[in-house]
């Protein structure tokens, strides 16, 4: 994950300031959610499929050492050179060493959230290797020198005009050209040259199949295939949680992944690769298996299952907060609900303290998750952890403490209510103090003449039915 401290409140407000863009961003992501809904409606076993996926992942998380050993044995038999990277720095060192040993100055890379999280590109660039991200969205944000704002559609926060400007500057497209087809064609022409000219291809891994030593990589653009079939050196980087027992299990995930992500029945290219290509003498295939903080999530009984995530992005698309705050507000490589669940373990509770609160706990994320991570409950449990560790602001904790004390005494609660109702009228357009946020955007309801308990004592307990003619709906 990025080193900087996420500032969700500040950064989400920046994005919110452009109200028109917020509506546009919300609509673009809701469209993905809509396509996901359509795609899942025609799968007769959708909920069973999710159950199966969750059960496979739960099995995997309980058997990583066995599966890892089996995977490495089979991978090495297939010709992979396997490397272990306990930390992000190890990954960076291993990859740079391999590239330097092979005299690589130009590399192409298909999407890998792991390498993004470890800052691999920056390290390679700083050491004289040109790395070109080949996923179109990633290429766009790379040219803008900014991180992806979404794990599946990295440039979803940008409008076509902004991309047109960028391509005019970097790819020589006509000034003012903003047609997505023509812009995509320009990127295609440029990137195909880079595929051809690269001396190495870096990829991520979607699934690592233990019983055969194969990795599975999924793309729609074909960039992982073009970025492995042409270059003499392939380096695949995977988090240890990507293990699955068999290729048959991959079938379950392939049926879930693209439907959840974009509403396609399967990714356009779902490629299994096992070691170096025997038709190309001298072809090398390396596999780097990474921890880089995953052990902290693994050791956490309450949140371990978040390692099941297959990075489909469905929880981002459905999250009403993400849709209106945008990915950059989270300040982490993986944003949205899953990002907010991963971050406290990956970068520490102190740095990530705002993120579990960047949610209304509406639960839609939990319902769309193809591997059934109980995301909103995980956010809630992080909140408890943050409070225990003293990372919830004092004002909030103090208010809750006072509240709980006051609410332990019905007479005090009742008195407080009476006082509040007395001064209510003054506050209708603005409450002072910590709750000013309420009246910044909302009117208060009119103060009722009496509380329910007052009414019950005087009338309610004795009479038949209360009337509701006094209600104010205006």
């Amino acid at each position: 994950m990025t080193a900087r401290v996420p500032q969700f409140h500040v950064d989400s407000e920046k994005f919110l300031a452009d109200q028109e863009r917020v509506g546009w961003h919300d609509g673009a992501l809701w469209h993905l959610r809509y396509k996901r809904d359509l795609a899942t409606q025609v799968v007769p076993d959708w909920e069973k499929l999710r159950d199966q996926a969750a059960a496979i992942k739960a099995h995997v998380l309980d058997h990583i050492p066995t599966l890892l050993s089996q995977f490495i044995t089979n991978a090495e038999a297939a010709g992979w050179v396997v490397h272990l990277a306990p930390e992000a720095d190890d990954l960076k060192r291993i990859v740079l060493d391999l590239l330097q040993k092979n005299g690589v100055t130009k590399a192409v890379k298909s999407k890998s959230m792991l390498t993004e999280e470890c800052g691999l590109n920056h390290h390679l660039e700083a050491n004289g290797v040109e790395v070109v991200d080949t996923d179109l969205g990633e290429r766009i944000v790379q040219l803008r020198h900014e991180p992806p704002s979404h794990i599946v559609v990295p440039a979803i926060h940008l409008k076509r005009g902004e991309i047109g400007e960028l391509f005019h500057e970097h790819l020589g497209t006509a000034k003012g050209e903003d047609d997505p087809i023509r812009l995509t064609r320009a990127a295609r022409a440029d990137l195909r040259k880079r595929f051809i000219g690269a001396q190495a291809g870096l990829t991520g891994v979607n699934f690592a199949v233990a019983d055969s030593g194969a990795i599975v990589i999924c793309t729609n653009e074909g960039n992982a295939d073009l970025g492995t079939a042409l270059q003499p050196l392939h380096i695949a980087c995977m988090g240890v949680e990507k293990l699955i027992p068999t290729a048959a299990d991959a079938g379950v995930f392939l049926r879930l992944l693209a439907r959840s992500a974009t509403g396609q029945p399967i990714t356009t290219y779902s490629t299994h690769i096992r070691g170096p290509d025997p038709t190309r003498p001298g072809h090398q295939a390396h596999l780097v298996i990474v921890d880089a903080g995953r052990r902290r999530l693994f050791a956490d009984d309450e949140h371990r299952r978040a390692l099941s995530c297959i990075r489909c992005g469905a929880c981002l698309n459905t999250c009403p907060v993400y849709r209106r705050a945008s990915g950059h507000a989270y300040g982490t490589t993986v944003p949205g609900p899953i990002g907010a669940v991963l971050a406290p373990a990956m970068i520490g509770t102190a740095k990530a303290k705002e993120l579990p609160f960047a949610s209304t706990l509406c639960g839609s994320c939990t319902n769309v998750c193809p591997v059934k991570i109980d995301l909103h409950d995980q956010l809630l449990s992080w909140r408890r952890r943050l409070a225990r560790e003293g990372h919830v602001p004092f004002s909030k904790r103090f208010a809750m403490k006072i509240g709980a004390q006051a609410l332990s005494y019905p007479w005090l609660f009742s008195l407080g209510g009476k006082i509040a109702r007395t001064f209510w009228g003054l506050a209708r357009k603005g409450i002072p103090g910590p709750h000013a946020g309420w009246t910044k955007h909302r009117d208060l309801p009119p103060a009722p003449k009496q509380s329910f308990r007052g009414w019950w004592k005087s009338d309610g307990q004795n009479q038949g039915n209360p009337t509701n003619k006094d209600q104010d709906h205006g």
Binding site: P44, D45, L49, A55, H59, H63, I64, L68, S69, I72, L84, P86, L136, G137, I140, V153, I156, I163, P180, I181, T184, R188, L191, R192, F195, V209, D211, S212, N220, E221, G222, N223, D225, L226, A229, L230, A247, A248, G251, V252, R255, T262, P265, I266, T267, T268, Y269, S270, T271, H272, I273, R274, G275, D277, P278, T279, I289, D291, R295, F298
Partner: protein, 209 residues
């Protein structure tokens, strides 16, 4: 070879404590019984941007028409496995075994043979056995995929189970790709553009093999 001690140290970090109840694998999931119907395949294929062609009036004539379709074809290259199905068809060359696959960059139309097709998601299977000329299928501008008519599988669970058996049984497969339609992207304002980096058009023809 990975150093044993390094692997042990790495694995230790992901070891559940002694005495933990470990969850068993849920077992093989057969999935729903979906029909192996070319009509269903055609619908799926259309949804992912591909086109289904009929081998009419004859297989050779239909393939010839696909090659000549629309415009004067540029370079047409067939994989070795597909070449065997092109008797009576003209205007193509066979892909030769090469260590420099970059030379296929200027291919206009690639003709390849898929080993099976899946109706549920229009995925077509090519592997190092049927397509050792892997880069051809990604560098060409257009692609025609010939698939044996009797190799259509209904649901993807069954289709993938078949591939899984081959991998686990030790068949020396280097690569195996499920291809579903032409390459595509929607990274600019969610506008679907067919033809990202790979093929811009994909047609499928069921053939007698």
């Amino acid at each position: 070879m990975v150093d044993g001690a390094a692997l042990a140290a790495f694995s230790m970090r992901f070891q559940r404590p002694v005495g933990s109840v470990l969850k068993a694998h849920p077992g093989v999931y057969p999935g729903p019984d979906l029909p192996a119907s070319w009509d269903v395949f055609a619908t799926s294929l259309k949804s992912v941007g591909g086109v289904l062609l009929n081998a009419q009036p004859s297989q050779a004539q239909a393939i010839q028409a696909a090659i000549d379709m629309g415009r004067a074809p540029g370079r047409v290259v067939a994989s070795a496995a597909a070449a065997r199905l092109l008797t009576g068809v003209t205007g193509w060359e066979t892909a030769r075994v090469t260590t420099t696959p970059q030379e296929w960059e200027d291919v206009d139309l690639a003709i390849i043979r898929a080993e099976s097709a899946c109706a549920e998601n229009a995925a077509l299977l090519v592997t190092s056995s049927s397509l050792p000329e892997r880069a051809l299928a990604f560098l060409a501008q257009r692609i025609l995929v010939l698939v044996p008519r009797n190799r259509l599988i209904g649901g993807f669970m069954a289709a993938q189970a078949e591939l899984a058996r081959r991998l686990a049984d030790g068949e020396a497969l280097h690569h195996a790709t499920w291809m579903s339609g032409p390459s595509k992207t929607a990274d600019i304002e969610q506008t679907l553009v067919i033809g990202a980096h790979g093929v811009c058009a994909l047609a499928v023809m069921p053939v007698d093999a």
